[in-house]
Symmetry: C2
Subunit: 79 residues, 2 copies
């Protein structure tokens, strides 16, 4: 079973990296970019076959390792 986990900064948290990318895009002539925020994506290949169990395990992985839930949000996309 393959999963994608997205980890992004919470909306109130400053993202200087994203701001730098937005400024760089503007400098390269790409107008009309209001904001850019950068996050991480993890592509995880698991042996689990049970969907709810896989979701629960991924949720635990996010809370314990993949995301810093003080400043980051995460979402799980199971395929």
């Amino acid at each position: 079973m393959k999963a994608r986990v997205f980890v992004t900064l919470k909306s109130g948290v400053l993202d200087p990296q994203g701001a730098a990318i937005g400024a760089a895009l503007g400098g390269m002539g790409f107008d009309g970019v209001n904001s850019v925020r950068q996050g991480k994506v993890f592509e995880i290949d698991m042996t689990d076959t049970d969907r709810p169990e896989a979701e629960a395990r991924l949720d635990a992985m996010c809370k314990r390792l993949l995301a810093n839930t003080v400043i980051e949000d995460y979402s799980i996309d199971l395929s």
Copy 2:
């Protein structure tokens, strides 16, 4: 118009960061994780209202700045 751009390493390219995360998950007791690969996600808020035009602009952004197409693949998700 909001877009998500995913940038991931091509399948043949070594991903030591992903491998380290996979090993850490194993060490924390999460069995059955075959592989982990880490990538980047960019959340871009644009003023464009025309979908094909926005896609073309995002594609150009990826080729020129967001992705290193020698070692990375990208995909665009427009909402």
